[in-house]
């Protein structure tokens, strides 16, 4: 009996699901809402909502419906959510994706159905190279690029040996590959630490190894909350005096407020590389940063900037075909032009649909109000294309 009741209830609920409306742009956005990494997802969702306000909720006169899904920081869940977006909600675009492994798990479901997939952050080497796809676009970067810029910075600073640490997942491996690509000195040692749901947050053993390796500098990639934990332990272990810290995607607007709250002044003046910064001087970025600060009361992160860009990229595609969402070729061609106002300024797309863009060196400073943020110091790489583009047959 219960089975029947359940079944009937299920049917009822499913039948009540909203019917498809053709005169709407439907955008799915997959990010991490739950788990401690949810703080990143929140920043992205905030940026997307801001972008929706800024475009008045319309693209080429069509209403835009945004469906946000939580991947729970787990590849299989992300994939399930993409399946749902494609099959149930039948969205036109899917954006989001903080994590490379979630994106890798989900891409087949989205691309097999012909839906446009736009990564607002993750940039695994596979998708930039052999597995590139005509319907995939990135509003961020390929994973290797930012650490490649950092490798250059290490060279410029005359660092001879470095110890590298990163989480053990797709992006972590890409990041290490990136820094090793450009860094000319010696890699004194590597540690890949457990990531995912049960991410390792106590790095005592690894930091002791780093110290004992005799490397001149420590390079790390720890996005989200792990970054804060690492920097704290780096300080506590007294490594600041002996091993300068170089980071990518670790010290950002998500970590800084907490570091400031904990008064970890050691992070001041530390350097990192990025394709964007809140102080980057272009009209779209100014509008974005001031709008974001006004609405949410803090600096946006690069995740937010890329998510903001995602909406504007989609808008440029929809407008190019005058809202004819069945014209996939038209939309694809429009996106390829990268003809939209981006927070990073003007850029172009490579053959693999990853941006060809500048990378900057940034320094942690206090702004006029004493709030910790980053300031662009110099341009490390200009109009840089990722090293995997050549492997992409497109």
């Amino acid at each position: 009996m219960i089975k029947k009741i359940t079944a009937l209830a299920a049917m009822g609920a499913f039948l009540a699901a909203p019917a498809m409306a053709a005169d709407k742009v439907k955008i799915g956005f997959v990010t991490t809402i739950t788990t401690p990494a949810g703080v990143i997802g929140q920043d992205m969702v905030d940026a997307v909502n801001l972008a929706m306000e800024d475009i008045g909720g319309k693209m080429a006169g069509l209403d835009v419906e945004l469906i946000i899904e939580d991947d729970g920081f787990k590849p299989p869940i992300g994939k399930q959510k993409v399946d749902k977006l494609v099959k149930k909600d039948q969205v036109d675009f899917i954006g989001g994706f903080i994590w490379s492994h979630v994106l890798l798990a989900s891409k087949k479901s989205a691309l097999d159905s012909g839906t446009f997939l736009i990564s607002s952050n993750a940039g695994p080497s596979q998708i930039a190279g052999k597995q590139c796809d005509k319907n995939f676009f990135s509003t961020s970067w390929q994973n290797d690029q930012t650490p490649m810029a950092m490798g250059e910075v290490l060279n410029q600073n005359g660092v001879k040996s470095v110890y590298v640490m990163a989480p053990n997942y797709a992006a972590g491996k890409n990041m290490i590959a990136g820094v090793e690509r450009t860094f000319k000195g010696k890699i004194a040692g590597r540690d890949l630490t457990k990531w995912g749901k049960d991410a390792q947050l106590d790095f005592s053993a690894e930091l002791a190894k780093a110290k004992a390796s005799g490397a001149e500098a420590l390079w790390v990639f720890y996005p989200g909350k792990a970054g804060g934990a690492l920097i704290k332990q780096y300080e506590q272990a007294g490594l600041r005096d002996t091993m300068p810290l170089y980071t990518v995607f670790t010290v950002d607007s998500i970590a800084l407020p907490k570091l400031q709250a904990g008064n970890l002044a050691g992070v001041m003046g530390s350097r990192n590389t990025q394709h964007w910064g809140p102080d980057l001087d272009n009209p779209q970025n100014k509008k974005f940063v001031s709008g974001f600060k006004k609405k949410y009361g803090h600096y946006p992160s690069f995740y937010a900037a890329q998510s903001y860009d995602t909406i504007f990229l989609i808008k440029s595609a929809v407008e190019a075909v005058n809202g004819d969402l069945s014209n996939k070729d038209g939309m694809r061609a429009a996106m390829k032009k990268a003809d939209f106002p981006s927070t990073r300024g003007k850029f172009s797309y490579g053959n693999n649909h990853f941006p060809i863009q500048n990378f900057y060196l940034r320094e942690v400073v206090a702004d006029a109000d004493g709030v910790w943020t980053t300031k662009i110091v110099s341009t490390v790489m200009e109009n840089h294309q990722d090293p995997y583009a050549a492997e992409c047959k497109m």
């Binding site: 809402i33 739950t34 788990t35 401690p36 949810g38 703080v39 929140q42 053990n168 590597r190 540690d191 890949l192 630490t193 457990k194 749901k197 049960d198 390792q200 947050l201 106590d202 005592s204 053993a205 690894e206 002791a208 190894k209 110290k211 004992a212 909350k225 804060g228 934990a229 704290k232 332990q233 300080e235 506590q236 272990a237 007294g238 907490k258 709250a261 904990g262 008064n263």
Partner: protein, 307 residues
């Protein structure tokens, strides 16, 4: 061999060990005396960390935060015992596993709701936030020394309490023979509640000690609780001494694995595979240890005498 590094890593292992001990001590008592499997023990570890983080922010003092958070966690434990756990004593282990699994979900969501998903840092006073110099240019963080000494002090205190006081006598008796304790005319309900609350406070203390290093975060107890179970199974359920020895073993194996296993593996495989496999294999080592212990001593290393 770099003996300085080896010493540092031993200290790191001991630090992880005492943390596990704090968590396992309550678990093994609750399990041994009440025959209650509490997967949600890790949630109390998390709650301790969050209470402490909140109180440190309010009082601006780490020490005060810990002192206030301890009774608060004990109180929470007492309430949980009263409302949920008490109703489960008459059920079997399977029911315990399921109900406390449900409790984990409730606690994690409640924390998300109250404190948000971000997690909370616990700032430390300057003295604790620094490091001391050891021989050969090595350094060790002061706070980790504090963790080690607190853990050892608690272990000593528990040892004295269990072996030399009346309550301890009841606890030991309870762990080996429940009916006997009841026959002694002891209010078993009160004893259970007390033990549960103390166990909660110890778990909370472990959470308070780790949070300044890793931050308090949702679900922080869900993986370490499994390791804590491994500890009490290896040590023998109900045995404080067993929990201590096993916690040290597990802490050292895990840390030493992370420190030196990749070097060892590089002898057999490419350095890249070694670096990927080493953390996984060292995590696996403790489960292998447990399976081996159980295969040869199905009751663990130090089972309470009569059962």
């Amino acid at each position: 061999m770099d003996w300085g590094l080896f010493t540092i890593q031993m200290l790191n292992g001991v630090q992880l060990g005492v943390l596990l001990f704090l968590l396992a001590a309550g678990l093994t008592l609750v399990f041994g005396i009440m025959d209650f499997v509490n997967l949600a023990h890790g949630s109390l570890y998390m709650m301790g960390a969050y209470f402490c983080a909140t109180l440190v922010q309010l009082t601006d003092s780490f020490v005060l935060g810990v002192i206030l958070a301890l009774p608060l966690t004990a109180l929470l434990g007492w309430i949980v015992e009263l409302i949920v756990v008490r109703a489960l004593y008459t059920h079997d282990h399977l029911d315990h596993v399921l109900a406390t699994f449900g409790m984990i979900l409730c606690f994690d969501t409640a924390v998300d709701f109250i404190w948000g998903p971000t997690g909370m840092a616990i700032p430390l006073p300057e003295v604790l936030d620094s490091h001391i110099d050891l021989f050969g240019g090595h350094t060790f963080p002061v706070f980790r020394i504090l963790i080690i000494s607190t853990g050892l002090a608690v272990a000593g205190f528990l040892y004295v309490m269990v072996s030399h006081t009346r309550i301890g006598m009841l606890i030991r008796a309870g762990a080996s023979n429940r009916t006997m304790v009841m026959a002694l005319g002891v209010d078993i309900g009160k004893l259970f509640a007390l033990v549960f609350a103390v166990g909660a406070a110890l778990a909370g203390l472990a959470g308070m000690l780790i949070a300044p290093i890793t931050e308090a975060s949702i679900g922080m107890g869900n993986e370490i609780i499994i390791v804590a179970f491994v500890v009490i199974i290896i040590g023998g359920i109900g045995s404080i001494k067993g929990a201590f020895v096993a916690a040290m073993l597990v802490g050292l194996i895990d840390t030493m694995g992370r420190s030196f296993l990749d070097q060892l593996l590089k002898v057999f495989m490419s350095s890249e595979s070694a670096e990927t496999s080493a953390p996984a294999l060292s995590a696996m080592a403790i489960y292998i240890l447990m399976a081996m212990v159980l295969a040869f001593r199905p009751q663990g290393l130090f089972p309470p005498k009569v059962r």
